[in-house]
Structure formats: structure tokens, C-alpha cells
Symmetry: C2
Subunit: 329 residues, 2 copies
């Protein structure tokens, strides 16, 4: 910029003003423009950040960038973030508490203007780190009610209930359940929802029909195999779509027909559910909507940090596909 100013024969202050479109006489404007073009001037983002105290970067921390549910969130977030002229910095945490709190603490370095994080477990150190963070944080997922943090959540218990009701309405009574780890927030919620929901329909809980793995395809397949070796359900509910695809695989290998012998329902309603054959029914937890809302909340808070903490809720919705169609028994 010094160079540009010198070349145009003006002060750097004037050059800066012209290049930011803040006034200047026609004469100087054209001289500065010409000089900038001649030397191929490009403003330095870092110096600008230092001065403006913003980086125009937003961080996103998710467990696993391979899980399609996070891909959908990421796409949604990316689009609103890009719209606002900012960019996304993506972190994969592997679901590790230490990695997540480290990331949160790093916010203090001000390398981004804010963060959207979707922790799979929420610990006290999370809460502390978020409270201490000078940069705004928005959480996708459950949070203690008293935590003063912007938060968008869904009601996965209600989601599970939708699925169970649907299966029961289709005449299924021996409903299996393949869940993720119980010490995670979603795992615990789904477990609770499942038990609650069976009780509500007057169906006794059969522990033989419940299996736990993690939220991945391979674990879902293995867990389903274990379940099938013990009992034969007439339906299986899975805690997410990756697990459901694994379960489908296990069912087909076992020679069971879906949905005739066993109905199958997943959760998250990702494209994976549509890509399976038969297509898998799934409880939509509005991942794109949640991502979108989270990004909006974050931008709003960056704009006005004094805003009271907000909490958004998106309602689950069941999408029925071939894998659980009623009347296919």
C-alpha cells in the first residue's frame, strides 16, 4: 500500500480511503486505482484483521467429517457463512473431550470470530471453556438449561417416539434397537426415548432386543449381527443412518427380507437413507435446518454480543420409505 500511495503521489491514508471506497476526489481516485492496478495491489487480510479486530472466519467443530449428518450441517452452515462474506474453518474432534476443550480454549487466540460446535458429550470442562471464551460459541445439541449459551437442539426422544409409533401402527411388536454409546448425549436421549415409548404402547422391554455400538456403519452392522444371533425382531430402530445401513446389511446377509420380515428405521434422514436399497425410513432431525439456525445465531451474536442467549428447537419428523412401509408383511 505504501507503494501504491507513493506511485499515485498521495498519502497512504488517501490510498486506503480510495481502495475502501470512502470518498476522495475523482482525480485521486483514478490515480490510486491506476497505481493499484499497476502494481497488482492486494490488501493483506491479516493486517486488516489486526486493525478491524475480526478475521471473518468461523470455526465449525464436529466429531467426524465423514458422517453424512455432519456433512449436511456443514453444507448448511457453509452457505450462510459464505453469504455473509466469511469462511469456514473445519475441525474434526473425533468426539474427544480433550480435543474439544482445547479447541474452545483456542478461541481466546482470536483466530476466528466465533465457533459452531456439536459436541457428542457435554462435560463441565466444555461448559467452563465456553463460558470463558471471549469469542461467541453456538452449540448444536442438548445443553443444561441454565447454560447461558446460544443453542439449537432437537428433540430426539420425540423422534424416537415417532418411529416407534409408526412401527407399532404397522403391526410390529418385537422392536429391536441399535444404539450408539450411552454416555453420549444423543445415545442417552435415544435410549430413554425408546424405553419410554415402548412403555407408552404397553410393550414390555426385552433387553435381548437392545444393542449398543457406536455411531458408525461397521459397529452398527456388528451390533445388529449380535442382536440377530439372540433374537429375531420384526422391526429394528437405529440411532442413526450409518447404523441403519449396517443393520440393513446384516439383515440381508441373514436372509431376512426388509420390510417383509423386519422393518427398518434410521435416524438423521441423511442421503444415505435414500441411497440404500430398499430406501430406509428415517427420522429427520433437521440437520440442515439446525446448521442453518446455528449459523444465524452465531452471526447475530457476533453482530451484537449483548444479545440474551437464545435457544432454538427443531422438531423431528418421520420420513417413511420402503424399509418400513405399512402393509408389507
Amino acid at each position: 500500500m505504501h507503494t501504491v500511495a507513493a506511485l499515485a503521489g498521495v498519502s497512504i491514508a488517501s490510498a486506503s480511503r480510495v481502495l475502501n471506497g470512502l470518498g476522495g476526489s475523482p482525480e485521486t481516485v483514478s490515480r490510486v486505482r491506476a497505481a493499484a492496478a499497476e502494481v497488482g495491489y492486494v490488501p493483506n487480510a491479516i493486517a486488516r484483521s489486526l486493525q478491524s479486530q475480526r478475521t471473518d472466519l468461523i470455526a465449525l467443530a464436529v466429531e467426524d467429517i465423514g458422517n453424512p449428518v455432519y456433512v449436511e450441517m456443514m453444507r448448511a452452515i457453509e452457505s450462510v457463512v459464505a453469504e455473509s462474506g466469511r469462511q469456514l474453518v473445519v475441525h474434526a474432534t473425533g468426539g474427544q473431550v480433550a480435543a474439544e476443550t482445547a479447541l474452545l480454549r483456542r478461541l481466546a487466540h482470536r483466530y476466528v470470530d466465533g465457533m459452531v460446535i456439536s459436541p457428542i458429550r457435554v462435560t463441565d470442562s466444555h461448559l467452563e471453556a465456553m463460558a470463558a471464551s471471549p469469542a461467541p460459541v453456538v452449540v448444536i445439541g442438548q445443553l443444561p438449561d441454565e447454560a447461558p449459551i446460544d443453542n439449537v437442539r432437537t428433540d430426539s426422544r420425540a423422534g424416537v417416539a415417532l418411529a416407534v409409533s409408526h412401527l407399532v401402527a404397522g403391526g410390529r411388536r418385537k422392536i429391536g434397537f441399535v444404539n450408539g454409546p450411552l454416555d453420549t448425549v444423543p445415545g442417552a436421549a435415544r435410549d430413554g426415548g425408546f424405553r419410554e415409548s415402548l412403555a407408552h404402547h404397553g410393550i414390555p422391554i426385552d433387553e435381548q432386543l437392545i444393542e449398543v455400538g457406536n455411531f458408525q456403519y461397521a459397529a452398527g452392522r456388528a451390533a445388529t449381527e449380535r442382536l440377530l444371533s439372540r433374537a429375531t425382531p420384526d422391526a429394528i430402530l437405529c440411532a442413526n443412518d450409518l447404523i441403519a445401513v449396517g443393520a440393513l446389511h446384516a439383515l440381508l446377509v441373514a436372509g431376512l427380507r426388509v420390510p417383509q420380515d423386519v422393518a427398518l428405521v434410521g435416524m438423521d434422514d441423511t442421503e444415505l437413507a435414500r441411497m440404500a436399497y430398499p430406501q430406509i425410513s428415517s427420522v429427520s432431525l433437521g440437520s440442515a435446518t439446525r446448521g442453518n439456525l446455528a449459523a444465524q445465531l452465531l452471526l447475530a451474536r457476533i453482530k451484537d454480543p449483548a444479545l440474551p442467549p437464545r435457544r432454538e428447537q427443531v422438531l423431528p419428523k418421520l420420513v417413511v420409505r420402503a424399509s418400513s412401509e405399512v402393509g408389507q408383511r
Copy 2:
């Protein structure tokens, strides 16, 4: 930092030195440490960047963060980038030339230290922008031989040949081909490879058996349906795994058995191929390896910009699974 220095009763220079572990008397060291702890001092990443002329950020630009092949690359890149203490900024370009060149030009702002880009089309404006970029760029994919740019590629023609030979060896002669757009680098290479390879095996080319869509699931499925409405192949080769999953779906819906009636082979060997039922054979183009190499090249160049341009090649490898097992007719 001013505050810390004042509190410790030393100059900011001394404070800086202590906090960076560069000497200082035991007395000052402990005073500065104590002061820093007291006020909860955290260094400002931006000011540091302005001074050090590095941001410790690496950009990654891919067409679609939803495509599992890019997810694999991203994971591989993320891990080496994180290992070096840097972070990844992810951009989704949607395969748009304008978006990609804009991104490349933005490198001049120095908001990242370098970029890995995997363009699906390579135009002159790409080459210009890369040549003009003051920050290093590594390309994953084909590039004109004379372009002086670090580059890691694979030989997808050879990959196609592996698949065709495998199918022919299994007794298939009416081999269908579902490709992505021919104006993309991978699309063109695969088309060339397919024709070349059939010729090599003395099989005449039947245009009825060739379809073009894009590299997505839905397009793959639709293209396969079109193909099946015209002819009945005894094998189908797909330009990537997303297409292959779509093709599988179309085949099953049409009542065809895989592999008995139609053998199926995809490309990229992503987890998607393993998650399908039956599992889909796929030509591995080493996406993780390519990502890893690209990241290494980039870090090496950042360290020493004077390095001559390097070019790495990873060999394709066929992974045979149930969808094309020999002897299943």
C-alpha cells in the same frame, strides 16, 4: 501483553521473550509467568501472524464436501496438517471454475499459508491464477505437463483398464459404462480409458452401453435407468462410487441380480462401496494417499519455496468385492 509486562514490572520485550521461552533471568521468568497467569494472558494469533508473516492455516478446495472421496482426502490432509500445528480451511467450490479461480486469487490476501486444490476442470484461468499466486498451491489431479506446479495425480485410464480386464476375465462382454461429464478431467480420462481398454480386448464399442450424467448418486441412478431401457449389459462400470451405488439401485429395481445378471464395478473405493449390499468392487485411486502426499508436498514447499516443482503419482488398484465376483453367473 502490555498489561502482563506492566504487572510484572518489565518491558514488553522481556515479557514476549519469556512467553516464547527465549531466555530471561529466573527472576523475570517467574514474575512474567505469574503475571500472565494472573490476567489469563493469551497471545493474539493475528498480531503474531502479522509479524511472522504466517497464519498456520492451510486451505483445501474441493468440489463437494459430501462426496466420500473428498471426505477421505480431507481426513488424510487434515491429519498431516494438524500434525504440523496448522489448521484446515475448507472450501466447497461446486466445481465452478469462477469460484475456484476466485479462491486462488484470494490467496494473494495471505489469509492462509497455502492451498491444496482438486479441480475437476482445469482451465487456463486456473493455471494463470496458480502461477500468479504468491502462496504455494498443490493440485490433486491431472495438470498439463509443463505447468510448474506441485501435483499429485493418479492414472485413472489405467484404473479403468484394470476394471475392464477384470470384467472380461469374468466372461463379461457387454460392458456398460456410466460416466460423469466429459468436459471434466476425470470424465474425459475415464472415457478415453474405457474405449482404449475395450479395443485392447477386441470388444467393439457399443454407444448404446455408454451413458453420461454427473458424479452424483441421483444422476448415476437416472443414467443407469436410461441405459437399461436401451440395452441389457452383463456388466456396468461406473466412473465413481456414488454413481455405482445409483447404478446398483437401478439394477435392483429393474429386477436384475448383481453380480449374477450384471456385474458392477465402481471407482474411488470409498466406504460407500463397502456399505452397499452387495458390496461393490471398486478401483482404488488412493484418495487418502493422494491427500497425504499433497499435504506433504505443500508443507515442504512452504518450508522451502525454492524447491523445484514435484509430481507424485499413485497407482490405481482394483478391489474386488461381491458385486463382480468371478464365477457368479
